[in-house]
């Protein structure tokens, strides 16, 4: 049976202040799945995860079991690293998951580490999440006390060490290779791939990096079986989907929902409709790096494959009638990304919204690659002058050509994270950009930078 709107795999303890204490967690059946896992062969656990159709919840939606299969056979020093750096604008699930249910994450990590043969494991948590660092460190200490971590986990002979490693402020450290460099005590600079972390990761050793939500689903998969998890989802996407809905809806929130729910149902039936009785203008479906949907594209489900392939979503253009080529002629529609869904209403200034996204990626570019470092700066600057009513003829084409010049020409995907939404906003809301330019030309003689403060906030 597929999941329904009441199915709770990873959010069942939201709102329960006691759940983060190990005693309460155990009383509710916690760490039973770990006992079951430790009685299984590691390869059988990997097989269950493969059968579950669990896909990475950190952004790319890559099948977890397949990723685990990339580890070289019999590698001696393997690491499992949990990516808890959550900082993609619009995304607020991992922080809540850690805060309400830290032991579910630890349990998921221990059994995953057992499956992978990983002894020295780490949770890389974002530096600004101070309340969550406290919660997590306490939970890890409890798990050591009760023998769920340590030299001999529950007497099984399996050694599992887990260290909470705190970041210090840098969005780019969410990118897995930047994260590994940061964990090694370096600047958070992404590494060229290949080699992939599964082959050469932390300390030069094979490493699996997984998102918080991804790992928290593993106890369910072990308890109820991979096929059951697969059945909760649809197609190649198993389980439920956590969405973080923000922006102009009446009830923003973090919701665990069936993969098949559409954006329209989500807004109207789960989030209480749009605020102030207004209409939807558009939706960012998976964190600020994903191309937006317009109001005509809301009947698609939030599921991974649907957002990449559903023909009701217009493909992203690089210019009028020419589509962005993802390689091999594959068109870019959008992606489910991190589950950060940002809804904006009909009165939204999308040029200002787009400027804020570009300002973010410019600020967070690590600076290694010229197209990203310089290109994101230009995208920000040109968007800003349009917001300020000082756009120039040709600026729309210029934005598109800069974005095209970034995509595919950088070490890590942060370049695309700026280029894709830029092109996506131009494709779906071109009229808004054109209107801005027209108005700028009409009032050519008297630029009014003060106007920007009213729409975008502050003059720079």
């Amino acid at each position: 049976m597929p999941a329904d709107r009441n199915t709770r795999l990873v959010t069942r303890n939201f709102g329960n202040e006691r759940a983060r204490q190990i005693g309460s967690y155990e009383e509710a059946g916690g760490y039973q799945a770990l006992r079951k896992a430790l009685a299984m062969q590691p390869a059988d656990i990997v097989a269950e995860v493969k059968a579950s159709n669990l896909r990475g919840r950190g952004g790319a939606g890559f099948p977890t079991g397949v990723k685990w299969g990339f580890l070289p056979k019999g590698a001696p020093n393997v690491h499992l690293v949990c990516n808890a750096d959550e900082s993609e604008p619009g995304t607020c699930k991992d922080r809540e998951l850690i805060y309400w249910d830290p032991h579910l994450l630890i349990e998921g990590m221990v059994m995953s580490a057992y499956a992978l043969g990983a002894v020295h494991n780490y949770i890389y948590i974002r530096g600004e999440m101070m309340r969550e660092v406290v919660v997590l460190e306490r939970a890890v200490a409890e798990a050591y006390e009760r023998g769920y971590l340590g030299a001999n986990v529950l007497g099984s002979g399996f050694r599992c060490e887990l260290t909470v490693h705190r970041g210090a402020g840098a969005y780019i450290c969410g990118e897995e290779t930047a994260l590994l460099n940061s964990l090694e005590g370096k600047r958070g600079w992404p590494r060229l791939k290949p080699p992939f972390p599964a082959v050469k990761g932390l300390f030069g050793e094979p490493t699996i990096v997984n998102n918080v939500e991804t790992l928290m689903n593993v106890p369910f998969i072990i308890a109820d079986g991979g096929p059951r998890f697969a059945e909760l989802g649809v197609g190649r996407s198993g389980g439920t989907r956590i969405v973080c809905v923000s922006g102009h809806v009446n009830k923003p929130g973090v919701y665990e929902l069936p993969m098949t729910i559409t954006f329209r149902q989500l807004i109207d039936e789960v989030c209480g409709g749009m605020w102030k009785g207004r209409a939807v203008k558009g939706v960012i479906p998976g964190g600020s790096s994903m191309p937006p949907l317009d109001a005509d594209e809301l009947d698609v489900p939030v599921e991974f494959d649907a957002l990449m392939t559903d023909v009701r979503i217009k493909p992203v253009e690089v210019g009028r009638g020419t589509f962005f080529d993802m390689g091999g002629g594959k068109q870019l529609r959008t992606m489910a990304g991190s589950g950060g869904i940002v809804v904006f209403d009909e009165q939204t200034d999308v040029v200002a919204l787009c400027w804020r996204i570009m300002a973010f990626y410019h600020h967070e570019s690590c600076g290694q690659c010229t197209p990203c470092r310089e290109g994101t700066g230009w995208l920000e600057k040109i968007c800003k002058r349009m917001v300020d009513g000082q756009g120039r003829a040709g600026d729309i084409d210029l934005l598109a050509s800069i974005a095209v010049g970034i995509a595919g020409n950088t070490i890590c995907p942060l370049g695309e994270a700026a280029a894709w939404p830029m092109l996506g906003f131009l494709t779906k809301f071109r009229g808004d950009f054109e209107a801005r330019l027209r108005r700028a030309q009409e009032s050519h003689a008297r630029p009014a930078p003060g106007a920007a403060a009213a729409v975008a906030g502050r003059p720079q």
Partner: protein, 165 residues
């Protein structure tokens, strides 16, 4: 006087050192601790971190200047991080930020004894936008009208980030 780590901090660093194959991965924790004990990461504080972990000064300097939570000059007791990223912007974050500037008499990036005011990127509280974080304390669904109260509360009961290291 050359800065030193407290006995407690040294103990903490020694324990952390056991969690990694070398001392280098401890550098972020050491910088957090150094900032806690010395207020900021001046040159001689960076040198202390380098010597403690047996790393080059250049390496430690490079790391300290990459991450936004580290500061090289003095800051206030509380670091107020006001998110203005998209989810918060859509619900009035710039008005909230403006209210903080007015209330504190500070521009973004400035500090007085009690507060450092930071315009922050998404702090993963988007469903409760606009969001503000100060140490372990979150302020959610913030309106400009609440700003005076928040400032008064934090003055009476500070939440320095250094509580957490």
């Amino acid at each position: 006087m050359t800065p030193q780590f407290s006995a407690q901090a040294k103990q903490k660093l020694d324990a952390l050192r056991q969690r990694y194959p070398s001392s280098q991965p401890v550098v972020l924790a050491a910088l957090h601790l150094a900032q806690k004990e010395h207020g900021d990461l001046r040159d001689d504080v960076l040198r202390l971190v380098a010597e403690t972990l047996e790393l080059s000064y250049a390496h430690v300097y490079g790391v300290a200047t990459f991450y936004t939570m580290f500061r090289r000059t003095a800051g206030g007791t509380n670091t107020l991080r006001v998110c203005t990223n998209i989810s918060c912007m859509l619900r009035g974050a710039y008005d909230v930020l403006g209210a903080f500037e007015k209330q504190l008499g500070l521009r973004v990036g400035q500090a007085n004894a009690d507060f450092t005011l930071v315009e922050e990127e998404c702090i993963a509280a988007c469903a409760n936008a606009p969001a503000v974080v100060c140490g372990t304390r979150y302020f959610l669904d913030v309106t400009p009208e609440q700003v005076a109260g928040i400032v008064a509360e934090l003055k009476a009961e500070p939440h320095p980030e250094s509580e957490v290291v």
